[in-house]
Symmetry: C2
Subunit: 371 residues, 2 copies
């Protein structure tokens, strides 16, 4: 293997495939990035077995100049640091002996011990299964607006992912940790597809971080994996096995109380009201009647906070309801709206919140009993 | 105690006194800030017993409006967060009952449990001892240029501080962890003073962070403490007991080898050469002769690096010398010079480095034996 490459192109490519690499992989070879140099392109692959990211750089004058094809696996941390820090516009790679790879810039020469590519697991990245095209920003939005509601506990693995269910030109994205729920509905323009899959939150998080351009993304959905294909990139993630719980009965449809409020006002009030509470137990209380909307919290040890939210508009019988400050703030932020509507059915019943237009996004939070 | 204060003034004052407060103080009252409200000023004090910082805000229209004098101690973390996050230009403080303090903004009301000021230790901040005036930027510079060479090990407490020795219109500032040494000499303009004290690195670090303006600082040096007085601030630190070792014999005065090199070139090369080395054992080697200056390092497991530093100018017999990448980089950076001179006496002898003018700052590094 021998080639010369523009530093900045390689650096960008490495930054992308690195997102799939875990430095603590139980399989040592997966702490590396596979370099597969062909006549017309360099293919870089990173994987942690669950998530695989592959990108290609095409042979082109002043970008990539291939002298001798070949393969090698190089430790992801070292190769990234070298390419980031080397003081040279172009870098040459050549295998010296076995998998010892020489990486040369203007004044720097690194000899990095690599691994043989034959030891790298074979990963099938074929574009099979149900095909679907979505805009990159649609994907980024539904990930960011639901992912925080997934569970971080491995006791029910299915809840550590976001569920995607498509049928009749619509796709529902749902995440829940059983204390709160985020639901986003997306209209599928052309396609009439049908699937019901759950993608790990960790994979979605990395995908959302990689998306930065306005472009179409091709999805290929099969039983055990999904492929996201765009812009010289292939991202493949495994799916979570098992049936996602039916949450449709959880979401109330009739409400007796309604609070309309400026998003920034309530977010700032929540932030202050949770100052005296610990990360573990950040419970705050809304006290609402015709004349007042108050957000309060108290800790016997530290003291109490009272926030006046009279800028909000409340309709309904007086109601006091306690809930997690963090869950409420996550849900409110996800609406991405200047004003929100919170609807309640009772003191111990889940409440829902959404923007003024009752849009395609719904957030549900369970209250907490306080004594 | 009752007063109204401009939020931003109080926030700035709290940010300063907070630097002396440790949230893990063995004396719980020291996790608080003492508010001492007098007719004409509010005095805020924070301390961790070693370092004490006190600042005052004067009574003034639209800054501080005193209604009823008094004292209270408020938890530093909570009061700072409240003042940072409260959405109001002015804040009123009033003691409700005992030391329960009400803190009120436009729409927010906090009731914070405080402590009685009588439980706060009495700290003597009297301006006694040898008096000295130094410019704030002189102080900031000698701290930043020496402090990194102090020891972080408690086995020899005296080495965890910077030694200041004054006599004959000169002050020497020396820090060493016995593997390297930083020495800065300062001319004292008017004063003919004499002292020999060692200030804890931790205190100096906080003092350097607080200094941000060009101004004169008054120092009051006594046997067990030093006071820094400037801009409504009094900072007092304890001194480290014991005699600082005599380091004058350590510093070589005659050299057989000399390398003159661009600071950025060698710093970048050191950075790259230490890519393959661990934090614990980041040893690099300079190989110098009439034709070449090379910086190399290698790790059997990972690989090797060779940096060509031929942009430097070397004079002397061929020499190979190994040393800590981190110690060398710290010392080079401290010169704050575009070009540096490194002078050697031999392979296993300490080497010194300084800027081109052989200025008031000298850095010494011990080499490391490699096999």
């Amino acid at each position: 293997m021998k080639f010369k490459i523009k530093r900045i192109e390689l650096l960008n490519a490495l930054n992308k495939v690195n997102k799939a690499v875990s430095s603590k992989s139980p399989l040592p070879i997966l702490t590396g990035i596979k370099f597969d140099l062909q006549e017309d392109q360099l293919i870089l692959t990173g994987s942690d077995a669950d998530l695989t990211i592959q990108t290609t750089i095409d042979t082109q004058e002043n970008i990539l100049d291939v002298e001798e094809i070949g393969q090698v696996v190089l430790n992801s941390r070292y190769i990234s640091e070298i390419v980031r820090k080397i003081d040279s516009d172009f870098i040459t790679f050549s295998i010296l002996d076995g998998s010892l790879t020489q990486i040369k810039g203007e004044n720097s020469e690194f000899n990095l011990n690599g691994s043989k590519s034959i030891d790298y697991p074979t990963i099938d990245l074929s574009k099979t299964g149900t095909h679907l095209t979505l805009h990159s920003m649609t994907i980024k939005a539904f990930i960011e607006q639901t992912i925080f509601a997934t569970s971080d506990k491995e006791t029910r693995p299915i809840l550590t992912g976001v569920n995607f269910k498509a049928s009749g030109h619509q796709m529902q994205c749902i995440a829940t940790d059983s204390y709160r729920l985020s639901k986003k509905v997306i209209d599928l323009m052309q396609e009439d597809v049908s699937f019901n899959i759950t993608i790990p939150a960790k994979s979605l998080n990395e995908i959302s971080k990689i998306i930065d351009k306005n472009e179409d993304v091709d999805l290929y959905i099969s039983d055990r994996k999904v492929l996201f294909v765009f812009d010289h990139l292939v991202i493949q993630t495994r799916l979570i096995d098992g049936a996602f719980p039916d949450t449709s009965r959880l979401i109330p449809t009739e409400f007796a109380h309604k609070l309309t409020i400026n998003t920034r006002d309530i977010l700032n009030a929540i932030d202050r009201a949770s100052l005296f509470s610990s990360e573990m137990n950040n419970i705050i209380k809304l006290e609402m009647d015709a004349d007042h909307v108050l957000l309060t919290s108290s800790s016997q040890e530290i003291g109490s906070v009272e926030e006046d939210l009279s800028s909000g508009f409340y309709k309904g019988q007086p109601l006091n309801i306690s809930f997690s400050a963090k869950y409420a703030a996550n849900a409110i932020r996800a609406t991405r709206s200047q004003k929100i509507v919170i609807e309640f059915t009772g003191e111990m019943k889940p409440f829902v919140l959404h923007d003024m237009e009752e849009s395609d996004l719904l957030q549900l939070v369970l209250p907490v009993r306080t004594y």
